[in-house]
Symmetry: C2
Subunit: 208 residues, 2 copies
Amino acid sequence: MSRADRRRQLLETAEQVFAERGFRAVSMDEIAERCGVSKPLLYEHFGSKDGLVQATIDRVRAELYEATSAAMAQARDPREMVWRGMLAYFEFMDAHSRSFMMLLQEPMVVPGGTDDVLEQTRRQQSGLIAPLLAALAPDVPPAAVEAYTEIIIGGCERLALWRLSHPELSARDAARYMTDFTWNALREHVRADLMPPPLGPDAPSGAS
Amino acid sequence: MSRADRRRQLLETAEQVFAERGFRAVSMDEIAERCGVSKPLLYEHFGSKDGLVQATIDRVRAELYEATSAAMAQARDPREMVWRGMLAYFEFMDAHSRSFMMLLQEPMVVPGGTDDVLEQTRRQQSGLIAPLLAALAPDVPPAAVEAYTEIIIGGCERLALWRLSHPELSARDAARYMTDFTWNALREHVRADLMPPPLGPDAPSGAS
DNA sequence: GCTGGTAACTTACTGAGAGTAGGTTACTGG
DNA sequence: CCAGTAACCTACTCTCAGTAAGTTACCAGC
C-alpha cells in the first residue's frame, strides 16, 4: 500500500480505537493488531505513541474546524455567525462525541503540557473567533479581544464537557446559551448598525 | 513516623516533584526516592500512581478553594464578590503556577476521562459561582444559571492557561476581563438594586 | 524480660507496554 | 537479471507500574 494511503488507514483505525477506550488504555500493540500491521510500522509513520495521538487529534481538529468555519461562512451578519459557529461546534460534538472528547483532552495528554501543540489548537480556534469579535465590537482594545476570545473558547469547551454528563442539554440550547452569554457580554460594544440583531435562524427557548 | 504525618510528607514531596516535571514524566520509583522511602510504601498509602496524582491534586484544589472562598467572603456585595473571587483565582495561579497547571490537567490525566472526579472539581467550583449568579440575577432560569456557571468556569480556566504563554497579562487584568465579561453578560438580568455596581475595590484599566 | 501481635517499612521480583535493531519481501528502473 | 529502494516484519531491550513475601520496631500482656 502507498505510504499516504497506509497513513490514512492507520489514522482512521487509531481514531476509532482511541475513541472506544481512551488514549491511555490503548497500547501500540493493540492498535497495530487492529490495523493489521506490525508495531514498527506505526513507529515508522508517527514516531511515537504521542506522535500518533497528536496526528489523530489533528485529524479531528481539522474536521471540527472545517465544520464550524463552513457553518459560519453561510451567515450574513456577525450575530448569525456567532450562532451558526456555536451550533456547528456543539452539533459536531454530538456526532463525534468520543473523538471530540479526545480533542479537549489533547493539551493535557501530549508531552510538555503547554507546548506549541496547545498553541496550535488555540490559534486555530481563536483565528475563527477573534476577527469576529473585532468586527462586532471595534472599540474593544486588541488585548481585551484576545482575552475575550480565550474566555469564549474556554466556555465552549467547558460547556461541551458538561453536556457529556447532562444529555438533557441539547446542542441547540448549548449554542443558545453560549451565544446569549457572549452577545450580552459584548452588547455595549457592538456596532450600532448591528445592534438590533436578527434573533438567529430559529431561536430555541433561551435564557433572555 | 505516624501514618498521617507520613502521608502529609509524601504528598508534599510528590506535589513538588510533579510540579517540577509533570505527571507523566515522573516515575513512582523517583518519587519514592525523593521521599526517602520505598515504592511499596507509596502504594500502601495511595493505591496506585493515579491515586497519588489524585491525592496531590485534591490537595491543591483544597488550597485553591480556600483561597477563593476566603477572598469572596470579604466582599460586601455580589459584584465585588465576583471581582474578589476572580482576582484570588488568578493570583493563586501566579503563586502556584506549576501546581495550578496540574489542577487544570486533572480531569484528563485521571482514569476514565470524565468520571466522578471531574464532577467533584466541577461541583466545588460551581458551588461557589452558581449561588452567586442566582443572587445576582434571580430571573435567569436555573438551567441557564448552570450553563452560565460552566461557561464562566471554562473561561477562567482557559484564560489562566493562556496567561502561561502571555505573562504580560497580569492577574489583575485577567480578573478584570473575566469580571467585565461576566458582568456585562448578566447585566440585563441583574437585580435593579445591585445595578449601579461599585466599580470594585480598585479597578485597573479595563476594556469597558 | 520474654512473647505474641501489629504497624511501618523493605528487598526483590513480575508483567505490560513503549520503543528499536536488523532483517525480509516486493516492486521499480536500468 | 540485477541493483536499489520502499514497505514491512520478527524478535528483541528497557523502563516502569504494581506485588509477594518478608523484616524491623515497638508495644501489649503475662
